[in-house]
């Protein structure tokens, strides 16, 4: 039996009076890749951002309910603590443009003022970049700024930056929608490796991607979690009619 690492209990999210995520209850097992799918505006991104308390950064945004990370309620913790344990990778690659590749990887430590001995920093940088299969490509240009990297490489740099913090969970918000097909497949291969050490929750627009990379899939529609099951079952024999309509392309 797999242990649950993230569990949301009656989680609701609002933009002002707009109720965008409705009563979501979901249990996410450790070291799995969970795909979160749904049509535009269904609340999947809002739910994802709620997990690491990024949702409340938007003025007027509020949330209710509980999200348990192991045995602690993320909603009760100070957001900084949450984000040290749950990392996020965004849709558009966003490495810090004023930092070198090396500094970008350890940005989580450096910018937080956490001082590490050089040997330790080197180890973290090499380790994280290896984890995202970027080490061989950039090991000779670590002191350069990352603007010369391709989109796919920049995104992998962002994943390395998140991984360097040794989080327990990694959240991905449509991580390959801004990338070309080759970079996309490189990143997707990464998911397979990353899940050995982390739990991945990936919001994706791309059904084929969800089918390719995930162990379980959650289908959101109009703010509600409509169906949540093993990916294989979801795509071959969905229970809810709305899921079926989405998968067969009746609406997107």
């Amino acid at each position: 039996m797999e242990s649950t690492i993230v569990k949301s209990i009656n989680y609701n999210a609002y933009f002002g009076d707009n109720h965008v995520v409705k009563n979501v209850n979901i249990e996410i097992p450790k070291n799995n890749v969970i795909a979160v799918m749904g049509p535009s505006g269904c609340g999947k991104t809002t739910f994802l951002r709620g997990i690491n308390r990024m949702h409340e950064l938007i003025p007027g945004a509020t949330a209710k309910g509980q999200i348990m990370l192991n045995n602690e309620d993320v909603m009760e913790m100070h957001p900084i603590f949450v984000r040290l344990k749950i990392g996020m990778v965004f849709q558009r690659p966003n490495p810090f443009p004023n930092l070198s590749i090396y500094d970008n990887v350890i940005a989580g430590y450096k910018l937080n003022g956490i001082k590490l001995p050089k040997a330790e920093k080197d180890r973290i940088v090499e380790h994280s970049l290896t984890r995202v299969a970027l080490w061989n490509e950039v090991k000779d240009s670590l002191t350069k700024k990352g603007s010369f990297l391709s989109g796919g490489q920049q995104q992998r740099l962002c994943i390395a930056r998140a991984v360097a913090m040794e989080p327990e969970v990694l959240l991905f918000d449509e991580p390959t929608s801004a990338l070309d097909p080759i970079s996309t497949s490189t990143v997707e291969t990464l998911f397979h490796e990353l899940k050995k050490n982390y739990t991945l929750i990936i919001v994706t627009h791309n059904m084929q991607q969800a089918a390719r990379v995930s162990d379980k899939t959650a289908f959101f529609y109009m703010g509600e979690l409509v169906e949540y099951d093993d990916t294989k079952k979801m795509f071959t024999n969905p229970t809810d009619i709305r899921t079926q309509n989405y998968i067969t392309g009746r609406f997107s």
């Binding site: 040290l84 380790h127 290896t130 490796e193």
Partner: protein, 330 residues
Amino acid sequence: METSVDNDLITRPDLTTGRVIASTKIQEDVKGIKRVKRSHRQIRAENVFRRTLVIVALTMVVLVLGIMLTLVVQSIPSIKSAGLGFLWGKTWDPVKDVFGVYPFLLGTILTSFMALIISIPFSFAVGIFLGEYYPKGWVSNILKNTVELIAAVPSVIYGFWGLAVLVPLVRGFETKIGVDPVGLGIFTSSLILAVMIIPYAASLGRSMIQMVPSNLKEAAYSLGATRWEVIRSVILPYTRSGLFAGIMLSLGRALGETMAVTMVIGNTSLIPKNIFSPGNTMASVIANEFTEADHPVYLSALIELGLVLFVVTVVINMIGKRLIKGFSNE
């Protein structure tokens, strides 16, 4: 994609599944405690920072309120003694305690508006040159930088040059046309002021003109319009409020200009007879007489003048800014 085996990793069995997990988590746990302690400090620092930002923004408001309050409070003695007659009193005689500022209002209006009228053709020419004819390239850069330089030269230098070069020239001109050859006066001030305010309307005009959407211009071109006709019938009407805002900003600058005007205007409290007479503006009379004001009502009268100047310039500037905001929201 191959996984590399990291020899530094610590392996331990996961206590629930029995699977062997390679992770650096044990080392990280110690680091984690350090991280937590540091984060507590940072949360407090975060609040201090947020509060500081609010205080700073509040202080800005308090500063401006303080400025207005000081001006009003210090003007009260003068308001009490002269009343509204202050504004249309034609005599300014500190010795007799008679303070009417009409001559200075007249001087200000004459110099500023004359300067505007002289400078507008040039400002617009530069605006159209940089906005429409040569928006890019080395020619554009040279003109743009030069015009910006005009605004960078300190006004005291304009004043000194005006005193040394312009005044004798104007004196010669006045002899020729049979006017009192003083050289100093409203006309000379307007000339210098005109040069100084060119950059304001020019740079605003340039940005407004560049913002005209090209599909509007193309529509006119496709109907066979010449370039001048496109400018006249598409660009200028479209940027009308923006150009007017530029004029407001130039006017605001002219009204508040002190040093260059003080040095060439002649500094007299008499009502100017014609544009070649010497005179005074609100700003120049304050500059000249502030340190000589020996009794409270005199000083208060100068402050009241400052208050009038303040209100007028701020209003004109705000009109200009509102127009610009309205334009960019379209």
